[in-house]
C-alpha cells in the first residue's frame, strides 16, 4: 500500500500522468473544474490509459461507471481521495 498522500500529492500525480499521455499539454494552465477533454487533445484510448495509470499508481479500483467522475482535475482529486479512504479501511 502506498503511503497516505496529501491532496497536493494526488494532484501532482494526476498532472504527471496527464503529461505523459499528452506531452504537448500546458499542464500549468489546466482549469480544475473544466473537463480534460475540453482542454486537452485526449481521446478514449488516452483516457483509458489515464485511468489504468491512476489505478496502478494509487491501487484504487475504478469501475467503468465511475469514469465520468474523473472528467475534471477537481473531480479526480475528490474521487481518488474518497476511493483511497474506502479501500484503506
Amino acid at each position: 500500500m502506498t503511503p497516505n498522500l496529501t491532496t497536493d500529492e494526488i494532484k501532482s500525480l494526476i498532472l504527471r500522468i496527464l503529461g505523459e499521455i499528452a506531452p504537448e499539454a500546458d499542464l500549468a494552465s489546466i482549469k480544475p473544474d473544466i473537463s480534460f477533454r475540453d482542454q486537452l487533445d485526449i481521446d478514449s484510448v488516452d483516457f483509458l490509459n489515464f485511468a489504468i495509470a491512476l489505478h496502478e499508481e494509487l491501487r484504487v479500483e475504478i469501475p467503468e461507471a465511475d469514469y465520468p467522475k474523473l472528467a475534471t482535475l477537481n473531480g479526480c482529486i475528490e474521487y481518488l481521495t474518497a476511493q483511497r479512504q474506502t479501500s484503506q479501511r
Partner: protein, 369 residues
C-alpha cells in the same frame, strides 16, 4: 602442373612485405619454385601449412594493405546512417540493421535514437509518486527530424488524398444504428473485468466491420494495376490521429479472426506505436479497408476519402442519446451514424447497403462478435 606442396614459409604473420618479395617455397612435379608476391602490406594470416599439397590457385596467405586497421566483424552500415549516428550520439555497434544482410540504414539509427528518448520518459514514470517534473527536452536533431517527418506525412497524405479524389468515383451511404444493446452488453462485460482488460466500444465497431465484410467481400479489395483484387484476408486499417497533427491508418491483421480481447490489446499497441513513430511499414501498407471514427470530436457523420489502393472506408460519428421509436414507443437510445464511402468502379449502392445492414445487425447481437 596441377598441384604443389608448400615446403616452407619465409615470412610469418605480422611481417611487412613488399611487391617482389619471396614469401614461400613450393615444390611441384617439375621443380621447386619461389612464391613471389605482387602487392605490398602486412602478412595477416598463413592459410596453408608446410607439407600440405594443394591445387594450383589455392589462396596461401592473406596480405593486408598497410595502413588499414583490422576490422573484425566489420559493420554493414550506409555512409549516411554512419553520419547520422554520429550526429545523434548513437553507437552503430549497438544497432541491429534491418536492411539486406543486416545492413544498418538511417531508419535503424533513427529508431534507436527514438527508443532512447522514450526510455528516458519511462524512467521518470517508474519512480514512485513525486512532484511534477518538466518533461525531458528531446534531443535537438531528433526534434528536427520529427518536424521533417511531420512535413513528409502531410505530403504523403496530400498525395494520396488528391489521387483518391481525382481517380476514385466515391459514393456514400449512411445509416443510424441503435447502440443500446451493444453498450449494455459491453458495460456488463467490463463490470467484471479489471481496468486493464476492459474493452472500448470502438473494437466492437472494428470487429463488426470485419465480419460484415465476409458477406460483401468486394469492399475488401485493393487495386493492383488495372483491376481491383479481392483480398482473402481482412486487414482493417484503423485511422489514428497523431498528437502533432496528421494521421496514420495501420492494419489490425486478420481482424475478423481475432477475439475482441486480442483486438483490444492489438489496437492499444497500434495506437501507442503509431504515436511513438515505431510502426512497421507492412502495417501501413497492408490494410484492405479503413475504419475511422470522429465521434469523440463531436462529429455526427463522416464522409471519408478512400485511401488508395483500397476501395472502401467506414466512418463512425458520435454516439448520443436520441429519441428512437421502438415497438411503437419513443424511447431514448444511444444512436450512432455509420457511413460507407465506396469506390463505384468496384461496388454498387445495393451491395454497399447490404454491408451497412450487416454491420447494424452484428451490433445488435454483440455476443456473437
Amino acid at each position: 602442373m596441377s598441384a604443389g606442396t608448400l615446403v616452407a614459409w619465409l615470412k610469418k604473420p605480422g611481417d611487412s612485405v613488399k611487391r617482389g618479395d619471396i614469401i614461400a617455397e613450393v615444390e611441384t612435379d617439375k621443380a621447386a619454385i619461389e612464391v613471389e608476391i605482387f602487392t605490398s602490406g602486412v602478412i595477416e594470416k598463413l592459410l596453408v601449412q608446410p607439407g600440405e599439397k594443394v591445387p594450383v590457385g589455392t589462396v596461401l596467405a592473406i596480405i593486408r594493405e598497410e595502413g588499414k586497421a583490422v576490422e573484425p566483424g566489420r559493420l554493414r552500415i550506409s555512409p549516411s546512417a554512419k553520419q547520422l549516428a554520429a550526429e545523434l550520439g548513437v553507437d552503430p555497434a549497438s544497432v541491429r540493421g534491418t536492411g539486406p544482410d543486416g545492413a544498418i540504414s538511417r531508419a535503424d539509427i533513427e529508431a534507436v535514437a527514438r527508443r532512447a528518448r522514450d526510455k528516458g520518459l519511462e524512467t521518470i514514470g517508474e519512480e514512485p509518486v513525486r512532484p511534477l517534473a518538466p518533461s525531458p527536452a528531446p534531443l535537438a536533431p531528433a526534434a528536427e527530424t520529427a518536424a521533417k517527418r511531420q512535413a513528409r506525412m502531410r505530403q504523403a497524405i496530400a498525395a494520396a488524398m488528391a489521387r483518391s479524389k481525382r481517380e476514385i468515383p466515391h459514393y456514400y451511404l449512411s445509416t443510424t444504428i441503435d447502440m443500446g444493446r451493444a453498450m449494455a452488453w459491453l458495460s456488463e462485460k467490463n463490470r467484471k473485468r479489471p481496468i486493464q482488460s476492459r474493452l472500448l466500444y470502438g473494437v466492437l465497431l472494428i470487429k463488426a466491420v470485419a465480419v460484415a465484410l465476409r458477406e460483401v467481400p468486394e469492399l475488401n479489395a485493393v487495386w493492383k494495376g488495372n483491376q481491383a483484387v479481392q483480398s482473402q484476408a481482412i486487414h482493417v486499417g484503423v485511422a489514428i490521429s497523431l498528437r502533432q497533427g496528421g494521421l496514420v491508418a495501420p492494419a489490425l491483421h486478420d481482424t475478423d479472426r481475432q477475439s475482441l480481447d486480442q483486438l483490444m490489446t492489438n489496437f492499444l499497441d497500434l495506437v501507442k506505436r503509431a504515436r511513438a513513430g515505431s510502426l512497421r511499414s507492412s502495417e501501413l501498407s497492408d490494410p484492405t479497408i479503413t475504419v475511422t471514427s470522429l465521434g469523440e470530436q463531436g462529429v455526427e457523420t463522416v464522409f471519408g476519402v478512400i485511401y488508395p489502393p483500397q476501395v472502401a472506408l467506414v466512418g463512425f460519428g458520435k454516439m448520443m442519446d436520441r429519441p428512437w421509436v421502438a415497438e411503437g414507443k419513443i424511447v431514448p437510445r444511444p444512436i450512432m451514424t455509420a457511413t460507407l464511402s465506396a469506390d463505384h468502379r468496384v461496388s454498387d449502392g445495393h451491395r454497399g447497403g447490404l454491408f451497412l445492414a450487416a454491420v447494424d445487425r452484428l451490433l445488435q447481437d454483440p455476443s456473437q462478435l
